[in-house]
């Protein structure tokens, strides 16, 4: 076990009474509760923690937050393996198993890093030039090689055993960021009476205050405000939660990590996504420190100045003993002071000729060497920085060091505020971008608005908290927060973009973009920021260029000899930080992926050998395994039984709509292509609806139960669309019609008894009903009762056989089903599934979903005769007469019969004329097929060009997926009983 040789004996916000063990690349290490993986690695003296994306350069820890571009690790094993996690955001957990990435065979010795082996292939624009132009075939050659060389961590391949949850939440005000501004805003808004949710990505509140000493004034301010917030019942504090996106409707996407400390509780989610709807949003997202750009600025041991201070004061880790602090601003001097006070040997290299006297005096007091007008030009060392070349007023000189702290100024974190299209605005006095104008319900406070000093952020937060509460109509007086003055001075940054480095000077650490790449992009004309981004892949890493954006913009601005605002910024899009797909899916996986609809007879089907099939959102019996060994054997047997005796089919999935009102008949007359006004009470009619454009929409039967009451059925698939369409017409087109429509799909269990013995079965089952042909003729309807439940019997046929549809209250569905089977036993009544149902209707030539495909007209489907005489005024009537829809070569419904022995037809096959080349779209296609026991061969329905659809002639059906070609004869689509005699058999 490594010793924590960089850990200081006291201080910090770690719990020394709670030691934690973890492993990194197989090596056991120790840390404390309150550490991040990054702080624990640093405490153990690990400086090299990863390899870079393209060049496999050794990398260390740059930051102490979610902006980290380098220290990406893979966590966990097997199904829990999760790659590309910034070590700087991972709360150290006992037993944590972390691995470095992008290295082979080991982190310390990586084959691919030798001389930047692939560097020439991977310069900016390489992909564009090689793979988009005339040489794009090169991709096939290089793909394998590039994919192996590049890329980040590997995800696990086993199923993830953990639980994820998506939840909904609401608040008056959401405050994003738990630093001084956010805390102050939350306090003010809560005091004003608003319901507040405060979001903090860290496991501690405080933001940049956590970089201050853990026993100072900042800490006591923090403790006091946190206690105040916890005293409000209306405040929800969400730690370990990242706001990854802001969406329309003021919805914020949040992903919350499980509390890593301690064993997981049963059923607890590893990550929870919360969609939080707020009336007002306060952004207090802080700012991200910018790196400085100089040769080899990516060496392990180079760190942002504020990060070094955070490791020192929050985690009691002094990451170096011989430290160079380089910065062009006052703030970074505080890192020098704190490190010196902790015992390090510190040099400050400030490019300014005359840094402020107060800072110089304090440095002198702490024994710090100050080098004014001095900058770093190069760094030395491979796996850890060993020294620097500096350039000062007296020329270049070398200095030994084991840590370089840099600060190129600060960039307000404007990512989230930009998600809804608000362009950031450049503020010259801070040389950075702040959010553009907010709508009335969104606010910004603190560092993200450029107000960096804690005292200013607290004041800003308070003001904005009051304003946000007032927007929500809450304006109880909010007492001012306690003051906190850390004495930071904020000066205008001197922008630092040196050119002509000796080695690679990195701008985007994660995507390995250097100043030379930006120069190349500029030289080749990719000057606009959006082009620069795509040409160099700048900002396209998992860190989304949080540290690189501004340095890249200022480098390009310098090359273009323009200003940063003229150069502009790229567009920020969600997610701010990566979100696991599993977290977004939440519990909606496996059988919860979508809810299924089950018919009232579902359990009976399962208990009686049904092989179930997902049909849209429904579960339906596909076939019953008592009928045959597999579906092909079973459906043919089930068909034969329907044709010879009788079959029972669960048709509860049909859409069912109750229509009532004085104008119901008029309404139906308009929505169906065929007339309904004259339908007699007690009779049913097959109807077809068109869309406004004249294309067939859906078909079904509608029964007139009473003068002003109808019972409509729709196809299973279109049930919701039809109801919504009817409501649309009533609400928007014909509000004067007094008609009420209501879905009764769930009300009724429905089953069909079909076959020559069906009447006998009904007579046996319903002894009290008269189901003679006189009382219940074809297309007739009867209402009654069965066991106290409403009953409807319609004599309708889908299969071509004498058949009855029986509807009963859903709660009695399974009982009636069993009753019918019992009554039908002497008549060989057997259940059949959807495969046989489909086959029966194909044999009878009835069109269904495959033919009513949103492109076919009544005439195409052979249903034109349904529009009788001069009937007009129904939906779709005018546009169905457009010349193109009447063209003689339009594809229309035909029957096909396979004429090659031992071969079969397939749905989807393309039809060609014999002798023509089988190429392109052909003259038509097969829509539905079945084996026909009647014909002893495969038959099918097809849509075929009208000019060649001559009955008796041949076509060739080509099925390229299986390289099948089969000859078929064009026949009538009604393969069975064209006179319809069996309906009465």
């Amino acid at each position: 076990m490594n010793v924590q040789n960089k850990r200081l004996p006291g201080g910090g916000r770690i719990d020394r009474s709670y030691p934690v063990e973890f492993s990194f690349d197989g090596q056991k290490m120790a840390g404390y509760r309150g550490d991040t993986l990054a702080s624990a690695l640093l405490a153990n003296g690990a400086t090299l923690v990863g390899r870079s994306f393209k060049y496999h350069r050794p990398r260390g820890i740059l930051s102490a937050g979610p902006e980290e571009p380098n220290a990406l690790v893979t966590l966990g094993t097997a199904g829990r393996r999760e790659p590309n996690l910034p070590a700087t955001t991972l709360e150290l957990d006992d037993g944590m198993v972390a691995e470095s990435q992008n290295r082979w065979p080991s982190l310390a010795f990586d084959v691919q890093s030798v001389n930047g082996l692939f560097a020439p292939f991977l310069s900016a624009g390489f992909y564009y030039k090689t793979f988009m132009g005339p040489t794009r075939r090169a991709w096939k050659v290089y793909e394998h090689f590039i994919r192996k060389a590049a890329g980040l961590g590997r995800a696990g391949t086993e199923p993830d055993p953990d639980r994820y949850v998506v939840r909904h939440a609401f608040a008056d005000i959401t405050i994003v960021g738990g630093g001084p501004a956010g805390l102050s805003a939350a306090r003010a808004a809560a005091a004003a009476g608003a319901r507040v949710t405060l979001i903090e990505q860290d496991f501690l509140l405080g933001g940049q205050l956590l970089a201050e000493r853990s026993d100072g004034t900042a800490a006591s301010w923090l403790n006091q405000v946190e206690a105040e917030l916890k005293s409000f019942e209306t405040v929800t504090l969400m730690k370990r939660t990242s706001a990854f996106g802001i969406y329309d409707g003021d919805v914020i996407g949040l992903v919350e990590q499980r509390d890593q400390v301690g064993p997981p509780r049963t059923g607890e989610a590893r990550q929870t996504v919360t969609m939080l709807r707020a009336r007002s949003i306060v952004f207090a997202t802080g700012a991200i420190e910018r790196p400085m750009v100089f040769a080899n600025n990516d060496r392990p041991g180079v760190m942002l100045a504020s990060a070094a201070r955070t490791y020192l004061n929050r985690f009691a880790v002094l990451p170096g003993r011989k430290i160079i602090v380089t910065a062009a601003n006052d703030g970074a001097w505080r890192t020098a002071f704190d490190c010196a006070a902790a015992g390090a040997e510190v040099t400050v290299a400030d490019p300014r000729a005359a840094p402020p006297a107060a800072l110089v005096a304090e440095a002198a007091r702490l024994g710090i060497t100050v080098r004014a007008a001095t900058r770093i030009v190069d760094l030395h060392g491979g796996r850890a920085v060993r020294g620097a070349t500096l350039a000062g007023p007296d020329g270049q000189f070398e200095a030994a060091c084991d840590l370089v702290c840099m600060s190129g100024g600060w960039s307000p974190t404007v990512h989230l505020t930009s998600h809804l299209g608000i362009k950031p605005r450049y503020r010259e006095d801070i040389d950075g971008f702040v959010p553009g104008a907010f709508p009335a319900n969104r606010f910004g406070a603190g560092a993200m608005m450029g107000n960096y000093a804690a005292a200013d952020a607290i004041e800003d937060g308070h003001r904005v908290g009051v304003e946000a509460a007032s927007f929500c109509g809450k304006s109880a007086p909010a007492p001012a927060p306690s003051k906190l003055d850390l004495g930071e001075t904020v000066t205008t940054m001197l922008r630092d973009v040196p050119s002509a480095q000796r080695g690679k000077a990195f701008v985007d650490f994660q995507m390995d973009v250097t100043t030379k790449d930006i120069e190349l992009a500029h030289r080749e004309g990719y000057e606009s920021v959006e082009h620069l981004k795509r040409y160099t892949t700048l900002g396209m890493g998992t860190d989304q260029g949080k540290t690189s954006n501004f340095p890249a913009l200022s480098a390009m601005a310098a090359l273009r000899r323009s200003t940063v605002p003229e150069t502009g910024t790229t567009t920020f899009r969600p997610p701010f930080t990566p979100v696991a797909i599993g977290a977004l899916a939440g519990r909606a996986t496996g059988h919860h992926f979508k809810p299924f609809r089950r018919t009232p007879m579902h359990d009976w089907h399962l208990a009686n050998g049904a092989d179930m099939l997902e049909v849209g959102v429904w579960m339906r019996p596909w076939f019953y395994n008592q009928s045959g060994a597999d579906v092909n054997e079973a459906y043919v047997a089930e068909m034969r039984n329907v044709r010879q005796a009788a079959g029972l089919m669960d048709i509860s999935t049909l859409g069912k709509i109750d229509l009532q009102g004085p104008d119901a008949a008029t309404f139906l007359d308009r929505v169906y292509a065929n007339g309904f006004a004259k339908l007699q009470v007690g009779r049913a009619r097959y109807g077809v609806m068109l869309r406004d454009d004249g294309i067939v929409f859906d078909d079904g039967t509608t029964t007139r139960l009473a003068e002003n009451r109808f019972f409509m059925t729709t196809s299973t698939a279109k049930a919701a669309d039809v109801l919504s369409r009817l409501e649309f017409l009533l609400d928007t087109a014909w509000p004067e019609l007094r008609v009420a429509v209501a879905s009764v799909s769930d009300e009724w269990a429905a089953m069909s008894v079909a076959g020559p013995k069906s009447r006998a079965i009904l007579a046996a089952a319903f002894s009290s009903l008269d189901i003679s042909d006189e009382a219940l003729p074809h297309m007739g309807a009867q209402e009654g009762e069965w066991k106290g439940r409403a009953l409807r019997i319609l004599r309708l046929s889908y299969s071509g056989e004498r058949a009855y549809e029986i509807y009963v209250g859903a709660t009695a569905g399974e009982r009636l089903w069993s009753h019918l089977l019992e009554a039908g036993r002497p008549f060989d009544l057997k259940p059949y599934g959807v495969e046989a149902l489909g086959a029966l209707r194909v044999e009878k030539g009835h069109v269904a979903g495959p033919e009513i495909d949103g492109r076919t007209t009544l005439d195409d489907l052979g249903l034109g005769r349904m529009v009788v005489g001069k009937r007009s005024g129904f939906v779709g009537d005018v546009l169905r007469r457009r010349p193109a829809l009447l063209a003689p070569d339009r594809q229309r419904l035909v029957g096909l019969e396979c004429i090659e022995d031992g071969k079969r037809l397939r749905g989807g096959a393309i039809l060609f004329l014999p002798g023509s080349k089988a190429h392109g779209h052909g003259r038509g296609r097969i829509t539905s097929v079945t084996f026909s026991p009647e014909r002893g061969r495969y038959v099918g329905l097809a849509l075929l060009a009208g000019d060649v659809a001559t009955e008796g002639s041949e076509v060739v059906a080509v099925y390229p997926m299986k390289a099948e070609t089969v000859r078929a004869r064009i026949v009538s689509p009604v393969f069975l009983d064209p006179q319809g005699e069996r309906l009465h058999g």
Partner: protein, 88 residues
């Protein structure tokens, strides 16, 4: 996600609603025989960058058809009314 304030149910997520197309086009009378009128109603659309009147149905709710005025540039919904003007 879009949030739409249903006049009788209050603000709801867009996945409770069904989109119903442009509400600024006028549907011809059911017995209007003019193909041009139907052609205009079915196919001719303005596609504005700005305010757009459109039908939405609160289908997982009160099932009322609504007219929503939405800015196509930023999804800000400025008004929502019942498509059926009379509700008494």
């Amino acid at each position: 996600m879009l949030r739409i304030e249903c006049p009788c149910c209050g603000p709801r997520d867009h996945d409770e609603f069904r989109y119903g197309g442009d509400a600024s086009v006028r549907r011809p009378a059911h017995d209007d025989p003019d193909p041009e009128a139907w052609y205009a109603y079915v196919y001719v659309r303005e596609n504005p960058a700005g305010l757009h009147r459109e039908f939405w149905q609160h289908v997982i709710g009160c099932r009322q058809w609504l007219v929503v005025e939405r800015d196509t540039r930023n999804h800000v919904v400025s008004s929502v009314t019942f498509a059926r003007t009379s509700q008494a």
